[in-house]
């Protein structure tokens, strides 16, 4: 395979990482029954925070930690508002999405375009020499390797462990989970904050590793968070499918970079390309539920009806049954 192709593939793997952390974080939160809609703002604020802290302290670790803390703090507000106060999850999430974005730009203004530090590549000895696979998967910075672990650990935790089953339970049917001894509210707090911390990590992953630096509004991070939320839906709340969605998005971004250097399409148009695609994928996974589709299907002869409804059902994803529904103990 050509070097250029390998570089492109490696780029996809790398570009997918922040959005992968964000959408798996959101996946965990939503699995517990809470929607954290603030993702877009959280990523911008934590990208700025992580960048500034690492620049001032010289420590990348502190930069990432700051990102995680910001994400956790924002998620804690979402949790308090939705779990304890039972306010609309959409409202609080959306307010925070706007507020965190502006706060990021406001606080980060003095640091715009300042030189900072960033994560360098660490090829894994041995593995990185494997032809094709090596350069694509094992010649990256540490965050990329962390993303592999994140996918596997989240999947195994969710579906194979005892606390993972309970995580599914509190999002699916909290009354039944409560009857089996779960402290539903506490667990929802825990997973909202944990998911938020992962979302928060996505910020410094951009500013310290993937899209290095802080350039305020020109960092081009506005919108990524919404994509991450859409990927969670597209992925049917399953970490493996979510990861697949994140890699698709990474591929799209990488394609944009390639096209930018080979054609004269304005960069803004390439940056907007994922959004119609996001709408289209949501259309694919949801259209099977629409009433008119059912009616049209019913009017069809048996053979095409069966085939089409089978396809629609395979595409369809269902959220945790109690997503967005507040819980009380009795």
């Amino acid at each position: 395979m050509e070097i250029a192709t390998l570089t492109t593939l490696a780029g996809i793997v790398e570009y997918a990482v922040p959005v992968l952390f964000a959408s798996i974080g959101e996946n965990i939160t939503e699995k517990a029954g809470i929607t954290n809609l603030s993702v877009n703002g959280t990523i911008i604020l934590s990208a700025m925070g992580g960048f500034v802290v690492s620049m001032n302290t010289g420590s990348l670790l502190l930069g990432f930690l700051t990102g995680a803390l910001i994400g956790a703090a924002v998620a804690a507000i979402v949790a308090f508002s939705s779990i304890t106060l039972k306010q609309s999850q959409v409202a609080i999430g959306f307010i925070l999405a706007l507020l965190c974005r502006d706060l990021g730009y406001f606080l980060g203004a003095p640091y715009t375009n300042k030189p900072g530090i960033f994560l360098s590549k660490v090829p894994i000895p041995g593995l990185s020499e494997i032809p094709i696979l090596g350069p694509v998967f094992f010649n990256h910075s540490l965050v990329v390797y962390a993303s592999y672990l994140l996918i596997i650990i989240t999947f195994v935790y969710m579906y194979k462990t005892r606390p993972g089953l309970m995580l599914q339970g509190i999002g699916e049917r909290p009354t039944a989970a409560f009857a089996r001894g779960a402290n539903v509210k506490a667990l929802r707090y825990l997973y909202t904050i944990l998911g938020g911390a992962l979302v928060g990590l996505a910020g410094p992953m951009y500013s310290l590793a993937v899209k290095i630096g802080w350039a305020g509004q020109l960092s081009g991070l506005d919108g990524v968070g919404w994509i991450a939320l859409a990927i969670t839906i597209f992925g049917g709340w399953n970490p493996l499918r979510v990861a697949f969605g994140a890699y698709l998005f990474g591929g799209l971004q990488q394609l944009g970079i390639t096209l930018q250097s080979t054609t004269d399409i304005p960069i803004q148009i390439l940056q907007a390309a994922p959004f119609p695609l996001m709408i289209f994928t949501l259309l694919l996974v949801n259209v099977g539920r629409a009433e008119w589709v059912e009616r049209e299907l019913a009017a069809m002869p048996e053979k095409p009806r069966k085939v089409i409804s089978k396809i629609l059902r395979a595409l369809r994803t269902s959220p945790p049954a109690s997503l967005g529904v507040p819980f009380e103990n009795d």
């Binding site: 039972k86 307010i95 925070l96 706007l98 406001f106 606080l107 907007a272 959004f275 629409a290």
Partner: protein, 357 residues
């Protein structure tokens, strides 16, 4: 008699409750300012001086006050539009893009009719109608995707915001680029005869002020006094039951989106004819998002939203003065966001207390 009693009782209780609600909201506002002050201290700015700058920046001269009014106009129209979708239980996050499309269509109309012999006033009216159409078109898209495709309107609207912005940029750098070199400062200005004239000595056109007042009053009447408003409310609270009661929910969902798009389009046309005189990449100026915040702040109340919009408009205008203190102009957004955040949280605490009692 039995009809009177409960109604009278509720209105007396209502007044007391209204007062309490007001007090609680006020305390939320105070808390928000305290929190914002902490943020200002964090960036080593003097909070009092900042607030003073905001106030003088918004109200110290006639021209500033009329600038606030000129900024209130698009905000109140955008918010009014959002009240329709909110009443129907919809989150029309796509308002921003709908305003952009309104601007695009309005500028398009001006460009198309520029060299004709048509009366300028007529051209302006046509541009407003074109803008309205653009807004409605862009609002119906997420509406159709929701009712026929099951796509949550939040994602539909957001995606279309980015698409709208891309369309504007493509026009600015492509087909509508300025003679010579394309620039991100926007397309060529519309001819002076198409610009709405400000009242002497002010920054405000009387026409748009009248439009805004009419829109605000119309919205309050439609939502609170008509069968249309009641049906929207029913759909917003429980669309399944509303459908079984005989309300054509699909049509009403689309009408809510349509009303919102109509007002968004008018907002776009106003921004073109009285503020920017051209199409710029950020043609929505954030009014769509700001409108969402205003509506949430007043719990979706039409009359209150017009009043709170004055305050938000003042923040936006006063904010420009903050640069002289070395602060970023994102401060207005921060303060507005924190205000709404605290109002929603404190309101939640109040409800929790009521539940406990």
């Amino acid at each position: 008699m039995s009809i009177q009693t409960p109604a009278v009782k509720t209105s007396a209780n209502g007044r007391k409750k209204g007062l309490l609600d007001f007090g609680i909201r006020l305390s939320a506002v105070i808390l928000a300012f305290v929190f914002t002050s902490l943020i200002l201290l964090l960036v080593k700015a003097d909070p009092l001086e900042a607030y003073k700058t905001l106030v003088t920046g918004a109200f110290s001269t006639t021209s500033k006050i009329t600038s606030v009014a000129a900024s209130w106009v698009p905000l109140v129209i955008a918010t009014s539009g959002l009240l329709f979708t909110f009443t129907a239980g919809l989150w029309n996050i796509g308002m921003e893009g709908q305003i952009v499309l309104g601007s695009v269509f309005a500028v398009g109309a001006f460009r198309l009719l520029d060299n004709t012999a048509m009366d300028p006033t007529l051209v302006i009216i046509i541009a407003f109608i074109a803008g309205a159409l653009g807004g409605i078109l862009w609002a119906l898209l997420p509406g159709l995707m929701k009712v026929y495709g099951g796509v949550n309107e939040i994602f539909g609207g957001l995606g279309l915001n980015f698409v709208a912005k891309t369309i504007a940029i493509w026009l600015i750098f492509g087909p509508w680029k300025r003679p010579g070199v394309a620039s991100s400062s926007g397309t060529e200005w519309i001819d002076i005869k198409y610009r709405l004239v400000n009242m002497p000595g002010t920054n405000l056109s009387l026409v748009i002020l009248i439009i805004a007042v009419i829109v605000a009053i119309l919205t309050a009447i439609l939502l609170k006094g008509t069968h249309f408003g009641l049906k929207l409310k029913a759909i917003g609270k429980n669309y399944k039951a509303a459908y079984l009661l005989g309300i054509p929910t699909t049509r009403y969902f689309l009408m809510a989106f349509g009303m919102c798009g109509l007002f968004a389009g008018i907002t776009g046309a106003i921004l073109v004819t009285s503020k920017q005189y051209s199409l710029i990449p950020d043609a929505g100026f954030g009014y769509g998002f700001l409108g969402l915040l205003v509506a949430m702040l007043v719990n979706y109340h039409p009359i209150w939203s017009s009043i709170v919009a004055i305050f938000f408009a003042a923040l936006t205008i006063g904010n420009t003065q903050l640069q002289y203190m070395g602060l970023s102009t994102y401060f207005a957004g921060v303060l507005q966001g924190i205000l709404v955040l605290f109002v929603v949280l404190v309101d939640g605490l109040r409800k929790r207390l009521v539940r406990r009692m």
